[in-house]
């Protein structure tokens, strides 16, 4: 209480004194915080998409084809309702089945065989309606929905390049294309894609149609988009959601963790900043020691008064130790706040997820208090040695 009053009455000086510790702690906290954030960062949009993509493959190469008649009675490892099953997993943003229909031999824009038309190399892909969301696609017209899927409607969505090759320019007049001679209505054209850019060259049909007309037995793979950072966790759960009976039968591809080189680079910068933070803490400590010493010399009459009023040497020493500790603590608390805010602000500017070890903002103020305490030892001992008579005479 008494110490508090002293600090308040010397408010501006207290603030300036605490500034050194404030800067030091702020540098330390923000350096460690940014290091943590940077190691969790995702530098580009491509990275963001790659880091959130989990692919589940059926190891059996034959599953996606129509030539699996020998095992026709045996369903493939991935169920068609994969998207619904995975939707309940925490961290899954969206998911979709994805199969190449290798069995479709012929894709044409016209019903008759036009020998002048360039032979098209258009792939046919079967997927669930969630595909559009999973690949971050935009579509003119519309994508097929659950209704088309369930009913096995003969509809398709074309990639923009595939549409050019097939001479489909707009979907208003419900143009048809022909897959192995069977007509399919084009209801939309994919104009851009976040992932799976090869879909621009593909024809996408609903799973339902592929099952009914083109002999798809089971999806070849499942594309899963996870929330940032959830890929590993989701990847571990996906097989159990899809095939609780045979989770090991599925191959799960999760994105690689950030590379070592990047960590190496930031480790060097971190070391530099930590040294800078340490130096400013040292300077902050010296500042506190200096100001406390000045304050002791300036307050010699007051120390004499305290002694005359019954203060023991220990009281005087304790008083100045508490003052310097409080200065260190105040500086460090403010510094921690500044450091945390800096971390959040920089992380936000760079688009990194802000991250910080939880012990950091808790321990930093204690570090400041320790520095204050250590800085106060010499001035406080000096104050304790002052003889009351000398002190009172000094006035």
């Amino acid at each position: 209480m008494d110490v508090w009053l002293d600090l308040v009455t010397r408010f501006s000086r207290s603030c300036l004194t605490a500034l050194g510790t404030l800067i030091g702690i702020a540098v330390l906290v923000s350096t460690l915080g940014l290091a943590k954030s940077a190691s969790a960062r995702i530098t580009t949009r491509f990275d963001a998409l790659a880091a959130t993509e989990v692919v589940v493959r059926s190891p059996d190469e034959q599953v996606g084809t129509t030539e699996a008649s020998s095992r026709a009675s045996e369903p493939g490892p991935i169920p068609f309702d994969a998207a619904q099953r995975l939707a309940v997993i925490q961290g899954v943003a969206s998911s979709s089945t994805y199969s190449h229909l290798k069995g479709v031999k012929e894709v044409r824009g016209t019903p008759v065989n036009d020998p002048t038309a360039a032979s098209s190399r258009v792939e046919v892909v079967a997927a669930s309606p969630q595909l559009l969301a999973t690949v971050h696609g935009t579509v003119s017209g519309r994508f097929f929905d659950r209704f088309h899927d369930d009913r096995g409607e003969a509809v398709a969505v074309l990639g923009a390049e595939a549409a050019k090759q097939l001479n489909v320019s707009d979907v208003d007049r419900q143009p048809a294309i022909f897959l192995d001679g069977r007509s399919v209505v084009v209801i939309g054209i994919l104009t851009s894609l976040g992932r799976k850019p090869e879909l621009l060259h593909s024809v996408v049909v609903p799973d339902g149609l592929a099952r009914g007309q083109y002999g798809l037995l089971a999806p070849e793979q499942v594309l899963v988009e996870t929330r940032i950072g959830a890929a590993d966790v989701v990847g571990a759960q996906v097989p159990y959601a899809l095939r609780p009976d045979q989770p090991r039968s599925l191959e799960v591809v999760v994105p690689p963790t950030p590379t070592l080189t990047r960590d190496q680079v930031s480790a060097d910068t971190n070391a530099l900043f930590l040294v800078l933070g340490g130096i400013s803490l040292l300077i902050g400590g010296l500042g506190i020691a200096n100001v406390t010493l000045v304050s002791v010399l300036e307050r010699v009459p007051e120390i004499g008064l305290r002694r005359a009023l019954g203060a023991r040497r220990g009281h005087v020493v304790g008083h100045f130790l508490m003052e310097s500790t409080a200065l260190g603590l105040l500086g460090a608390v403010a510094g921690t706040a500044v450091g945390v805010l800096t971390t959040v602000a920089v992380a936000r500017l760079r688009g990194w997820p802000p991250a910080m070890d939880p012990w950091l903002p808790v321990l930093a103020p204690f570090l400041g208090a320790m520095i204050g305490l250590l800085s106060g030892i010499y001035p406080a001992v000096r104050a304790g040695r002052i003889e009351p008579i000398d002190a009172l005479r000094a006035a």
Binding site: D2, T9, E302, A308, L309, G310, A311, R312, P388
Partner: protein
Amino acid sequence: MTRRFGELQVLQPTSLAIPGGGYVAITGSSGSGKSTLLHLLGLLDKPSTGTYRFDGQDIAELGDDERATLRGRSIGFVFQAFHLLAARTAAENVEFGMLYQGVPQRERRERATDALERVGLPHRDTALARTLSGGERQRVAIARALAADARMILADEPTGNLDSVSGEVVLGLFDDLHASGLTLVVVTHNPEVAARALSPYSMRDGVLAPQLDGDGAGMARGVR
């Protein structure tokens, strides 16, 4: 007792008994040793030779901390320079005297209020010390000693920095305190101040002697 600083014998062998409830004045010019005597009386210093008994307790037997505690509990100081904490209020300064006695905050506040009333400053309790006049400051200093429940008040040139009117107020307070049973020791080189005391002494070159050449006021009241 004696007190020497190095080779310098500041206080020649001196014997002084101050009775409880006494009012002692010590006059003397600068360097006469009167402040040294006051510091000895106030437990701020230890005699080089001889013994000082405070309330029958030999001070030589007490350690630094014990002297500090005894000083805080029993002795109040009133200085020429007042020694208030300028940035705190009058009430806080009075409470400050009880800080090292472990008096609970609430009781400190009550005792401070009472003490300020005794010195005639009940309305100035929230004024910052630096805004008070000299006379008011000295009265706050006296209140600080009173609130701390001092039994002996040692005053070193209490009116030295005051105009005569304020000085008179302070001396009037001393008379009241004496009347209420407190022991007072006033060190001054102002003969008028010394004349108010019951037992005036004069000091010269470290030698203390009863003042016989006074104007008679002290004598009239009777030296013990």
